[in-house]
């Protein structure tokens, strides 16, 4: 198959998968797109939203649309790392001899839903770190690979703070994108009511295999990025650092820590998926502008003043992107150079 044909196939597959999810999920087109982008980019996605917006349903539907194993972990304060990763248990074989055998935890699945991840203790949350980054877990000195593709979708409730453990920065940084699930519009709400209160059941078909997902991941990495687009991504990430010499004023004033290099990787990778999903063979600056907020909002840590002032991280990132774009455009204006 030609490259052109591969791309067209990916576009079709992407749209087909989205269509399957949209059979169940009403609205949230952007969230679905970003979830799929995260999956095809080989990253993990954190969904944040109040209860009842369909976060869990979205992930569950996605898993049903893919020919992949799915596990759901409901995070609670008493959840232990072994409950996620698995543990060695003593088993007795046919001869009556006892030995330790590794019992896989729910993490050993292609798609893992970590529901209300911020309710678990940091110790348990940290159990996800290795799996999310290395796609493997180490138990009893033995490293065990997780199935590929491995995709973690976590949800958290931003309102209920009591009895929660906010994710540490290191954990947050492992998520490629952080999506904010908004309340649906009235038309969407009406559609939700109609769809969920009738007797008709919606059947979701499996439209994509794990192998396909992996092949698409390979394809996505081939998407070329022009130097000026890459520079734009670097500029955005650097502009989130208050210590950077050219950091904008909003960053210096309200930001404590800026995005890590993973932020730039996330921007470019997600940008590649977006480009390919739109049938484009290259990443554009518009891709980065669109994806800046989901890729960076959980990587930019506000300082006390930013928190006290109630600064919205998305607005802050938007200002940073605009500033970088303006300075880049101005600096690269070929006319006056």
């Amino acid at each position: 198959m030609t490259d052109d044909g591969r791309v067209r196939e990916f576009v079709t597959a992407f749209e087909g998968l989205r269509a399957e999810v949209e059979k169940v999920i009403v609205g949230h087109r952007e969230i679905i797109n970003h979830v799929l982008m995260g999956m095809f980019a080989g990253g993990h996605v954190l969904l944040e939203g109040v209860p009842g917006l369909g976060k869990t349903l979205l992930v569950k539907t996605l898993s049903e649309s893919l020919e992949l194993s799915f596990s759901r972990i409901q995070f609670t304060p008493d959840l232990m790392p072994a409950d996620i990763i698995g543990t060695n248990i003593i088993v007795e074989d046919a001869d009556g001899r006892k030995h330790f055998q590794f019992q896989q935890g729910p993490l050993f699945a292609h798609i893992v839903l970590a529901d209300e991840i911020n309710r678990a203790t940091p110790k348990t949350q940290s159990a996800l770190l290795e799996g999310m980054q290395e796609a493997s877990v180490t138990v009893g000195g033995v490293s065990r690979p997780l199935p590929a593709p491995f995709f973690v979708l976590a949800t958290q409730n931003p309102i209920e703070m009591e009895g929660t453990y906010p994710l540490p920065e290191a954990q947050l940084d492992r998520f490629l994108l952080k999506l904010r699930v908004r309340y649906p519009a009235i038309e969407e709400l009406n559609a939700i009511i109609d769809r969920t209160t009738q007797s008709r059941q919606v059947a979701v078909e499996r439209v994509m295999s794990g192998a396909k997902v992996l092949s698409y991941r390979e394809l996505i990495r081939e998407v070329p990025v022009a130097a000026h687009v890459r520079d734009f991504a670097s500029g955005i990430v650097m502009a989130t650092h208050p210590q950077w010499a050219d950091a904008p004023d909003v960053t210096r004033r309200f930001v404590r820590y800026g995005a890590s290099p993973r932020g730039a990787q996330a921007l470019i990778l997600a940008g590649k998926v977006r480009a390919l999903a739109e049938g484009r063979f290259n990443v554009s600056a518009d891709d980065l502008k669109t994806l800046a907020a989901p890729a960076l909002r959980h990587r930019v840590i506000l300082n006390f003043e930013g928190e006290a002032e109630g600064i919205d991280v998305d607005t802050l990132i938007s200002q940073i992107v605009d500033g970088v774009e303006a300075s880049t455009t101005q600096a690269r204006e070929p006319f006056v150079r």
């Binding site: 052109d4 070329p224 990443v283």
Partner: protein, 482 residues
């Protein structure tokens, strides 16, 4: 792999547009900066005449041309042009990415598809001008020099300062003062007069005073200056001043033999010219403070004058040698010696000339009388070289009894007529500065006729040279106009 021709064409087209916009941009900048000297040129068109607008126009064209060349020569980056095309035609960085990745060795298989896709899209594009015109900052201010230039072109030439170098010699300063005196305020002129009174008599003054005999000892100084002085004509009528100076001039008119020898004016006297320059050079300075260069110039001038038969060449040569040796004091001494010789030679050459003869005799008599002491008689010496004006040395009035004094000097009387009765305000006629707001105590118009008549009688009765008649009449005419 090389990028498709369509992409190349698009980039070249955009580059050309960029270059053209740059040409416009920098031509405008060049035009603005050239307009500044052009305006300056037009402001000075009085010196250049009709050539100024042409030169200014040429300057503008040159500035614009240079700017245009500069803009045209600036290199346009292909990647920049490609990005510009991407932005302008909504190609979402396809062209820039394709151009960049087509040349890269690590290009991915998708790059071929990218190039093909970009080419297909570019071929559908309708060519148009995509590079916006960016006006330089200077363009905002361009109307200012343009309006000024237009106004200057249409307006008559601005008056230029005189190209003559200022004469720093003392004589030059005196001339300037004289010139300014015509238009200067009364106060300034009074101050200048006061300074003049306090100044010790120079050699020239002594010389002129020496010409006058004992019988005319009551008259003062430089008569040529009296006739030259038309400053009264530019002032408000001040009859007190008129009394003090006007009648004195009338009296002088009657003394034909004391008329100035205008043929020996300062400008015709080599010695006086050099003397003035030497005074300007040395004026109050120590020898070590004097500019050797100026001293050398003066000595050279003296040497030049000496070639025409002067006997001071040796002194000048000595002075030059001393100057070269860095001995300014010796050079000054030599210059002084040369000056003395110049003076002596000039006096010797003048001794046989017309008006000097009679006066020389009288001068001799005066000297004899001076030995007789002060006071009384016709032979009284009222001071050689001293004037009537206050502060000019000894008082010219004879000492002694009042009636005798009056007899001795028939001109020491006031105007005719009787003083009015009653209390009189006293006022100092020798005041310096502007006159007070009070009205004149005497009827100027009533007595000017009297003085004019005296003048007319004098010039007809006495042997006043005909050339001076017009000058004298002009003087009274000037007074009359007031």
């Amino acid at each position: 792999m090389t990028p498709d021709a369509a992409l190349d064409r698009l980039v070249r087209r955009v580059s050309a547009q960029v270059r053209w916009r740059r040409v416009e941009h920098y031509a405008l900048r060049g035009f603005f900066w050239a307009s500044l000297p052009a305006v300056a040129l037009l402001a000075l068109k009085g010196g250049l005449g009709a050539l100024a607008p042409s030169v200014a126009g040429a300057l503008l064209v040159t500035g614009a041309l240079l700017g245009a060349i500069w803009g045209g020569l600036k290199r346009t980056n292909r990647a920049d042009a490609a990005r510009l095309a991407d932005r302008a035609f909504g190609l979402e960085d396809r062209v820039a990415t394709a151009l960049e990745w087509a040349q890269r060795p690590d290009r991915t298989p998708l790059v071929d598809s990218l190039v093909a896709d970009a080419t297909a899209r570019v071929e559908q594009i309708q060519p148009r001008h995509i590079v916006r015109r960016i006006l330089p900052r200077e363009a905002r201010f361009l109307p200012v020099p343009m309006v000024i230039a237009l106004a200057l072109t249409l307006a008559p030439a601005l008056p230029l300062p005189s190209p003559r170098l200022p004469d720093f010699s003392s004589g030059g300063q005196e001339e300037d003062k004289e010139q300014r005196g015509g238009s200067g305020s009364l106060e300034e002129r009074s101050k200048a007069e006061a300074r003049e009174r306090l100044r010790p008599p120079t050699f020239e003054e002594r010389e002129f005073q020496a010409r006058s005999g004992a019988s005319t000892a009551s008259t003062a100084g430089d008569l040529s200056a009296v006739f030259k002085d038309t400053s009264l004509s530019s002032q408000r009528p001040d009859f007190n001043s008129f009394l003090k100076r006007g009648d004195e001039r009338l009296k002088l008119l009657e003394q034909v033999d004391r008329l100035p020898d205008l043929a020996s004016d300062f400008t015709t006297s080599q010695y006086k010219m050099v003397f003035r320059k030497s005074k300007a050079l040395t004026g109050g300075l120590r020898p070590d403070q004097i500019s050797p260069q100026k001293l050398k110039e003066l000595l050279e001038e003296m040497e030049r004058l000496g070639r025409k038969g002067g006997n001071w060449q040796g002194d000048v040569g000595e002075g030059m040698e001393a100057l070269e040796g860095g001995q300014t004091d010796r050079a000054m001494e030599a210059m002084q010696k040369a000056l003395d010789k110049m003076r002596a030679q000039e006096e010797a050459s003048r001794s046989g000339k017309g008006l000097r003869g009679g006066r020389d005799n009288e001068r001799g008599g005066g000297r004899g009388d001076r030995r007789g002491g002060e006071g009384g008689g016709e032979g009284e010496d009222f001071g050689e070289g001293e004037g009537l004006l206050p502060g000019k040395g000894k008082s010219p009035s004879p000492k002694g009894e009042a009636s005798r004094r009056l007899q001795a000097n028939p001109y020491d009387v006031g105007v005719e007529g009787e003083s009015r009765r009653g209390r009189k305000d006293g006022f100092d006629t020798n005041m310096t500065g502007r006159g007070g707001p009070m009205a004149s105590r005497l009827h100027y118009l009533g007595v000017i006729g009297q003085y004019r008549k005296l003048m007319e009688d004098a010039i007809t009765r006495e042997a006043v040279p005909r050339d001076y008649h017009t000058q004298i009449k002009d003087y009274f005419q000037a007074l009359d106009e007031r």
